[in-house]
């Protein structure tokens, strides 16, 4: 336990000092600032644009961060051989995986927190005062974090199998594919072939359904997200992350480091 915490903490330290992440945060904050300008150009939709564009910036830049950090997770460690230093000590391999994952999740959470703070600053600047309805974007940010948790878990899993570049490519591809799962299932059903339909339905449940977490538009409209959706999506993310980490542990236990 203590070892996992140590790995988590030091992974966070190492990742948090990464120059690239700083740049990404700066860009995100710039985008959020820019959304205030966009709002002033048009009529009547300043609030909507700020929320929509602001949250989308957090989602996009956070995704980039998640993938970049994800590369560093295991495959970069293997490539650079830094992993030898750890695994030659009394550390169980699964402790390494868990520590790494949590470390990078914490890093993402902190970065997202910074971006969220920037967002609320912009919101305050625009609205001059904040009311209870302004808590809604927090819900959306929580969902965005859930997405990140999934992305980083995928990056971790691919990292155990493949090179840094390929891991990044695979992770990104899964992210994109995960937004079109209902289309995939619908295609399958329309073909009226039991085999194709069965396969697409299987894929629907097997692949990560990132579209579940897309609530930015709803939030911009001011619609509330139901408590049930919070619970269900949190559970989904938790289950899926567990699956991925367990799979990563399985692979990692057998991995050889030449």
């Amino acid at each position: 336990m203590a070892r996992i915490w140590s790995i988590t903490w030091h992974t966070f330290k190492e990742a948090a000092r990464d120059r690239v992440l700083y740049n990404l945060i700066v860009f995100a904050l710039l985008m959020i600032g820019a959304s205030i300008l966009f709002g002033q150009i048009s009529v009547g939709i300043e609030g909507i644009i700020l929320v929509d564009l602001g949250l989308s910036s957090i989602a996009v830049f956070g995704l980039l961060m998640a993938i970049l950090i994800g590369i560093g997770l295991v495959s970069k460690e293997i490539e650079r051989r830094t992993i030898f230093n750890l695994l030659s000590k009394p550390v169980h391999r699964f402790e390494f995986i868990l520590g790494k994952y949590f470390g990078l999740l914490v890093t993402l959470a902190v970065n997202t927190g910074v971006m969220a703070a920037g967002f609320y600053l912009a919101l305050f600047y625009q609205k001059r005062s904040l009311g209870p309805e302004d808590l809604l974007p927090l819900g959306a940010i929580y969902f965005i974090l859930l997405q990140f948790a999934l992305v980083v878990a995928w990056a971790l899993f691919f990292s155990c199998l493949s090179t840094p570049v390929l891991s990044a490519v695979f992770t990104f591809s899964i992210y994109v594919a995960g937004h079109f799962l209902s289309d995939l299932r619908f295609f399958g059903q329309e073909t009226h072939s039991r085999l194709v339909s069965g396969v697409t339905t299987l894929l629907y449940y097997l692949l990560p359904n990132f579209a579940d977490f897309d609530v930015i538009t709803r939030t911009a409209h001011g619609d509330k997200i139901s408590g049930l959706l919070f619970t269900a999506n949190s559970l989904y993310a938790l289950l899926y992350v567990t699956v991925l980490i367990s799979a990563a542990v399985l692979v990692f236990e057998e991995k050889e480091f030449r």
């Binding site: 000092r17 051989r81 030898f84 000590k89 050889e256």
Partner: protein, 324 residues
């Protein structure tokens, strides 16, 4: 109880793109490293030295065979609390400083924070990194990285220290420092196992060596034994011997090499040495030096390596050397 015992350790790798064929990189290695000794694992690149060390540390897994460390099954992760490891060409996290990394390493051994700090400070002194301990490692030179590697290998005060090519990439000063460090470790009664392809290092440091070539153990023994295999030959240098002397020497079957005024004779036999000296004295030729030439580790190595090659491989090597 030996520190390390390898029992029939064998490792195959699957090679090839589609149809994987097994390539044997280590074959039935049986080795014992006694507690408290400095043991050298020698061999050319690709001999299986790194493979052996990584098998001991469970970074890779054997195809067959086993290892015992301090008498216990090497699969026990907790054993590693008593081991320190320096990988070949070590690498560390860019953004952490040496102090931070040592703190990290120490925490993995469940050392208390205060103890970790104390040890880190001391080790950094010992390896000469005290001045730069708080700088991120990405700014370190290769020599500094190597020294940090040594420091982190010792953070847990290990009974057994395993070093993979510890001198690689170091300048002569650095190598001397590492040598001194290993001698220190030995003085502290720790067991040291290190691999190298630089024979002179092994000569000065090791109690015993094992010679690996193409995954097989070609030779094993004490340095002293190997070096004392006998005086291979005696070199006698004569100053300006008149031609007549050389002829009588040539008659005696002694090979001679002339370099300017001096003639260097390579005498195989103790008895012959007497005879040469007798002739030299009789003819009043000045003897510059008499030097017994011992078999070096190099010779021992080459002999073992040559012997170890099956005929087919020798053939290939000749073909390769023809290719130039």
């Amino acid at each position: 109880m030996p520190a390390i015992e390898t029992i029939d350790l064998t490792k195959d790798y699957a090679v090839g793109f589609w149809r994987k064929r097994p390539k044997r990189v280590l074959e039935h290695l049986n080795l014992e490293v006694a507690a408290g000794e400095v043991f050298g694992l020698l061999g050319p690149n690709g001999a299986g030295k790194s493979t052996t060390l990584k098998l001991i540390l469970r970074l890779i897994f054997p195809t067959s065979g086993a290892v015992r460390i301090f008498g216990s099954d090497w699969r026990d992760v907790s054993l590693r609390a008593r081991i320190g490891f320096l990988p070949e060409n070590p690498s560390f996290y860019d953004n952490l400083s040496a102090e931070e990394f040592l703190n990290y390493a120490g925490s993995l051994f469940r050392l208390a924070a205060a103890e970790r700090r104390r040890r880190a400070g001391k080790l950094l002194e010992q390896v000469g990194l005290a001045e730069v301990g708080d700088i991120p490692v990405r700014r370190y030179s290769k020599g500094m990285v190597q020294r940090l590697g040594l420091a982190q290998a010792l953070i847990n005060d290990p009974e057994l220290v395993i070093l993979d090519e510890p001198m690689s990439g170091l300048d002569p000063l650095g190598r001397r420092e590492v040598r001194d460090l290993i001698l220190d470790l030995k003085a502290q009664k720790r067991t040291v196992l290190f691999s190298t392809h630089i024979l002179s290092d092994a000569e000065t440091l090791c109690d015993r060596v094992a010679i690996l070539h193409r995954g097989r153990l070609q030779g094993l023994g004490e340095i002293g034994e190997i070096l004392a295999v006998g005086v291979a030959s005696t070199e006698i240098v004569l100053e300006a011997p008149p031609p007549g002397v050389l002829d009588s020497l040539a008659l005696a079957g002694v090979p001679a090499v002339r370099t300017g005024e001096r003639v260097r004779l390579s005498v195989q036999d103790e008895v012959e040495v007497e005879r040469v000296l007798e002739i030299a004295v009789r003819e009043k030729v000045k003897v510059v030096s008499i030097t017994p030439v011992r078999m070096t580790l190099e010779d021992y190595f080459m002999e073992k390596v040559e012997k170890g090659q099956p005929v087919r491989e020798k053939f290939d090597r000749q073909a390769l050397s023809r290719k130039g």
